[in-house]
């Protein structure tokens, strides 16, 4: 386990959340460096590093920043997406609770890069502790003059506000987040226009994930080529992997992008629990398609490799299921979440997710029909790609892949009116 931790370097240190701890490790030098460079130089360093968004989509961060109109001299906004609510994902919370100044440092750099003088941290409502810690950290930064007017003696002003959501999953979708931040229902917007052109309060806005922003200070401190040397080509840098489910040591592990799945599970997460064998893994938070155990064997965990395996790295929420897992029940579990969290704005998601959950429910309870798997796949096809935001696609991907890859379990449920597996494994 020779990897030198970057993002979690301060985690575990006493008082890791205090500004002095952060400064003692060379903190805020990135922000200092940024405000003495030009915005274009900052964008270029981050672009050169190959940093891709850690929120789920893996979109190149430098490119996202470059969409902000340069000739627009009006107000621009930076939003930090701290609405971490993807099932199986708990990496941002570690950063928020243990090293909030890393995030603030990254936000200063990023805000400077897009010339936003106003930034918000939209934090999930349930994260009481993290919100308190963040508010304290922001106050510390203000007290030192790192935030506010003319920061670090430059001509750049930046204000950061911590805004607490109310716990809706959909507010983690960037335009849902923006609507919520404006005080409205968290209904995602139709695109175009994209937030870079018309975002928060109708102004150019960038929304970046916590982990993405936390990658930025090390890039400025140690250089783009250092960052690019970590990981695999086109999938650079360190990554926080969240391992949950049927393993001996669930938790957050920082490793280079492209770390093989089995290395993560066996060497870091302590292998499958209770001496059982691996059945399936959802690699990128519950919105990703499921992988069977054989598919996991040689899979490097990075954006492109997961894409090639017809799933996604997503938020790197690695959900592990052992051989005692009923996959029909797993599908229901996932779909129930999406049906509950669907915002209800657009038709296919509002109606479709609930319908699929209802069918899965009857299947789990031995009341399914032989035709159900095909019906489910067809309804999934009718939802996928037809909705306003990616929630619907995220709801469909795991369920459709479970049906395709574990169809025999559905057939067993229909035929025997029950599951052939121990229920206890799920409970």
């Amino acid at each position: 386990m020779g990897f030198d931790r970057v993002l979690t370097r301060n985690v575990g240190k006493p008082d890791s959340r205090k500004i002095d701890t952060y400064l003692a490790g060379g903190g805020y030098s990135a922000a200092r460096k940024a405000v003495t460079s030009t915005p274009d130089e900052v964008v270029k360093i981050v672009s050169d590093s190959g940093l891709r968004g850690r929120g789920g989509a893996g979109f190149p961060t430098g490119k996202k920043w470059s969409f902000i109109p340069k000739n627009d001299t009006g107000q621009k906004f930076l939003c930090c997406n701290a609405d971490e609510s993807e099932p199986g994902t708990f990496k941002d919370r570690v950063l928020l609770e243990h090293d909030p100044h890393l995030l603030i440092d990254g936000m200063i750099v990023s805000a400077y890069a897009i010339q936003a003088t106003r930034a918000f941290i939209y934090i999930r409502g349930e994260m009481h502790a993290a919100a308190k810690i963040l508010e304290g950290a922001v106050a510390e930064a203000y007290a030192r003059g790192f935030l506010g007017k003319k920061i670090f003696g430059s001509a750049f002003d930046l204000d950061i506000t911590v805004y607490r959501g109310a716990g809706a999953y959909i507010c983690g979708e960037e335009t849902g987040l923006i609507e919520s931040l404006e005080g409205k229902r968290g209904w995602p917007r139709i695109k175009p226009p994209f937030p870079a052109i018309k975002g928060l309060f109708g102004r150019p806005t960038v929304v970046n994930n916590v982990e993405t922003l936390c990658c930025v200070p090390p890039i400025l401190e140690r250089g783009a080529s250092w960052f690019a040397s970590i990981g695999t080509p086109n999938n650079t840098g360190p990554k926080l992997y969240c391992v949950s489910g049927h393993v001996n040591r669930p938790g957050v592990y920082e490793l280079p992008l492209g770390t093989p799945m089995m290395e993560l599970l066996d060497q870091y997460a302590g292998g499958i629990w209770k001496g059982r064998t691996l059945k399936a893994v959802i690699p990128g938070g519950s919105s990703a398609a499921v992988l069977t155990a054989p598919e996991c064997q040689a899979l490097p965990l990075d954006f492109d490799s997961c894409g090639k395996a017809h799933t996604m790295l997503g938020s790197a929420g690695v959900i592990v299921m052992d051989d005692h897992t009923c996959m029909v029940d797993a599908a229901l579990n996932v779909m129930r979440f999406y049906a509950h969290e669907s915002c209800g704005q657009c038709t296919p998601c509002r109606e479709g997710t609930t319908w699929v959950a209802k069918i899965l429910n009857r299947d789990v309870h031995g009341q399914g029909l032989e035709t159900d798997p095909d019906l489910l796949l067809d309804v999934c096809r009718n939802i996928e790609g037809r909705a306003i935001c990616p929630l619907a696609d995220g709801a469909v991907a795991p369920v459709a892949s479970i049906i395709r890859k574990f169809r025999s379990e559905f057939d067993h449920h229909v035929k025997h009116k029950s599951c052939d597996l121990g229920k206890a494994a799920v409970a």
């Binding site: 209800g344 038709t347 296919p348 009718n382 037809r386 306003i388």
Partner: protein, 542 residues
């Protein structure tokens, strides 16, 4: 841009939906409405754009000259069919008892684009019927959540009485806390609701819509001149709907106009002519007896003529009269009575104009045609016209021997005039809809027709001349004012060439009133024509 093989020019800001509309290609949709912002949520208006793997919603896809669009390809047909299945999952399928049946987009789209049977086996979840406003019921379970109503109340009326509550499958339209949809434009949400969710209490269970006969006309309850459809069954008006006219009212109308039709059906309407029997006591109402219309007109013509000979005849013209009627009245005075003492009935104002967020205005003036009547009288008789107060002062002082008072106010008690002055007139002829206080004092009373019962034109506050249409027959012996005036004119020896029909009268009027020059009823069409520049700033239309 190419749509279904046809070329359409791409303008800046245009969407694929705009292109389809330009070509007359219908793309089914629920949430899209030309007067509202784009919601993009119903996902029904999907089209295929060559090169894109997924169907695109046409309402929010910017048009591009490079696009090749298909509105009926296999991908589109499949996507629509799937979406229609979703819309009907929890829909109660209660068309047999739903007022919307027959004019329901959900019904039409299901028939045209749906799959005919549902694969949904689970139970439907009932949703309550809600009373959301003075005239509005929300059958929640029929709702497709297109949010046209909430966007209308947010963007057009600016009153925000309805909103969406709950999430996902449980989403539903509800009243905003403490608010009911009672604003003066609220009725429009029952029109723009594409399904049977928002229903008018007034029309509830009155008729299946396919039995209704629809007549295009103009609203008569303020000078905005909103274009309407008068919908009738037999000889009764059952409801009024707005008719789209982008130069006048846009897509909407107000509730005063929408429910103002009731006076037309009122059983207390005047149905015959009458004359006064004996004198009135100081405050009492004289007794009356019915006479024939012919006798009444004869008496009026003779009395006006003899008073004219003495140089003391006058008329008060109603702003509910059509331009043609005002013209006939003016010609009677100019040609036959040699008088120019025709006053406009003073405006019968409600409190104030009500102006909504997006500009739609309900005017304080309750009458539709003050501007047109004034245009016509002034052009024929020369201005300035005497005021009704001046005419009544003449009456009070005994100088006036005969007065022809066209009231025709749909509000029986709505005209405010000095009744003691009316009592002093030796001969008072009144044309009216109801036996109100003015009619009660008349020596001869002629029953008038409502605007729904006659042909003619009104000129709205901005100078837009528009046609009324004959939607129902008048009750009993009631006659349109133009017919009564024509008869008076005929008996007084007027120019009969202008008398045959309102269209002829209007053509003649157009030769006399400069700004109406060249206009004919046919030229006005259903949309009307503007005879003057709109007052600045912006017009009332939405």
């Amino acid at each position: 841009m190419k749509i279904d093989g046809r070329d359409v020019a791409v303008d800046k800001g245009m969407t694929v939906m705009d292109g389809c509309r330009k070509l007359g290609i219908y793309v089914p949709h629920f949430c899209y409405h030309p007067a509202l912002s784009i919601a993009g949520s119903c996902r029904l208006c999907m089209v295929e754009v060559k090169g894109f793997p997924k169907p695109m919603i046409s309402c929010n896809t910017p048009a591009d000259a490079k696009y090749e669009v298909f509105t009926g390809s296999e991908m589109v047909v499949q996507a629509r069919k799937a979406m229609m299945e979703f819309f009907l999952l929890n829909h109660p399928l209660d068309c047999p008892v739903c007022d919307q049946a027959g004019e329901c987009d959900l019904q039409d789209f299901s028939f045209r684009y749906g799959r005919g049977f549902s694969r949904y086996d689970e139970g439907k979840e009932p949703r309550a019927k809600k009373d959301v406003g003075r005239d509005i019921l929300l059958y929640t379970q029929r709702c497709v959540l297109c949010t046209r109503c909430t966007r209308f109340l947010d963007e057009v009326s600016g009153t925000n009485e309805l909103t969406v509550a709950n999430r996902g499958f449980h989403s539903e339209i509800v009243n905003a806390p403490g608010k009911r949809a009672d604003n003066l434009m609220a009725g429009n949400i029952t029109d723009i609701c594409p399904v049977g969710a928002l229903e008018s209490k007034d029309f509830l269970f009155k008729s299946r819509v396919w039995y209704l006969h629809s007549t295009p006309s103009v609203c008569t309850h303020c000078p905005a001149g909103c274009n309407i459809k008068i919908q009738t069954k037999g000889n009764r008006i059952l409801r009024i709907k707005p008719r789209t006219n982008l130069d006048v009212n846009g897509y909407f109308m107000c509730d005063i106009g929408r429910f103002g039709y009731k006076f037309v059906n009122d059983s207390k309407r005047l149905t015959g002519a009458s004359r006064r029997v004996g004198a009135a006591s100081a405050n009492g109402v004289p007794a009356r007896s019915m006479i024939s219309i012919g006798d009444a007109i004869e008496t009026v013509a003779e009395s006006l003529a003899s008073a004219a000979a003495a140089g003391s005849v006058a008329a008060i013209a109603s702003p509910w009269m059509t331009n043609e009627e005002a013209y006939l009245l003016a010609r009677i005075f100019k040609d036959c009575l040699r008088s120019s003492r025709v006053a406009m009935l003073e405006k019968n104002d409600r409190a104030t104009d009500v102006r909504f967020k997006k500009g739609f205005t309900v005017y304080a003036d309750a009458a539709p045609n003050a501007r047109g009547v004034e245009d016509v009288l002034t052009a024929v008789l020369g201005g300035p016209l005497p005021t009704d107060a001046e005419v009544l002062a003449d009456a009070q002082s005994g100088r006036l021997k005969a007065l022809l008072f066209v009231n025709s106010n749909p509000d029986a008690a709505g005209t405010r005039v000095d009744v003691t002055a009316l009592r002093a007139i030796p001969f008072l002829a009144v044309v009216d809809l109801f036996a109100g206080p003015i009619a009660a004092l008349s020596h001869v009373l002629l029953p008038a027709a409502s605007a729904a019962e006659k042909i003619g034109t009104f000129t709205n506050v901005e100078g837009h001349v528009q046609r009324l249409a004959h939607a129902v027959e008048s009750p009993g012996q009631a006659h349109p004012e133009w017919k009564l005036l024509v008869e008076i004119y005929r008996r007084l020896g007027g120019n009969l060439a202008i008398c045959d029909r309102p269209a002829d009268t209007f053509a003649h009027l157009a030769t006399q009133v400069p700004s109406y020059s060249g206009l004919t009823h046919d030229a006005l069409g259903d949309g009307g024509r503007r005879v003057a520049a709109p007052p600045s700033p912006a017009p009332a239309g939405v």
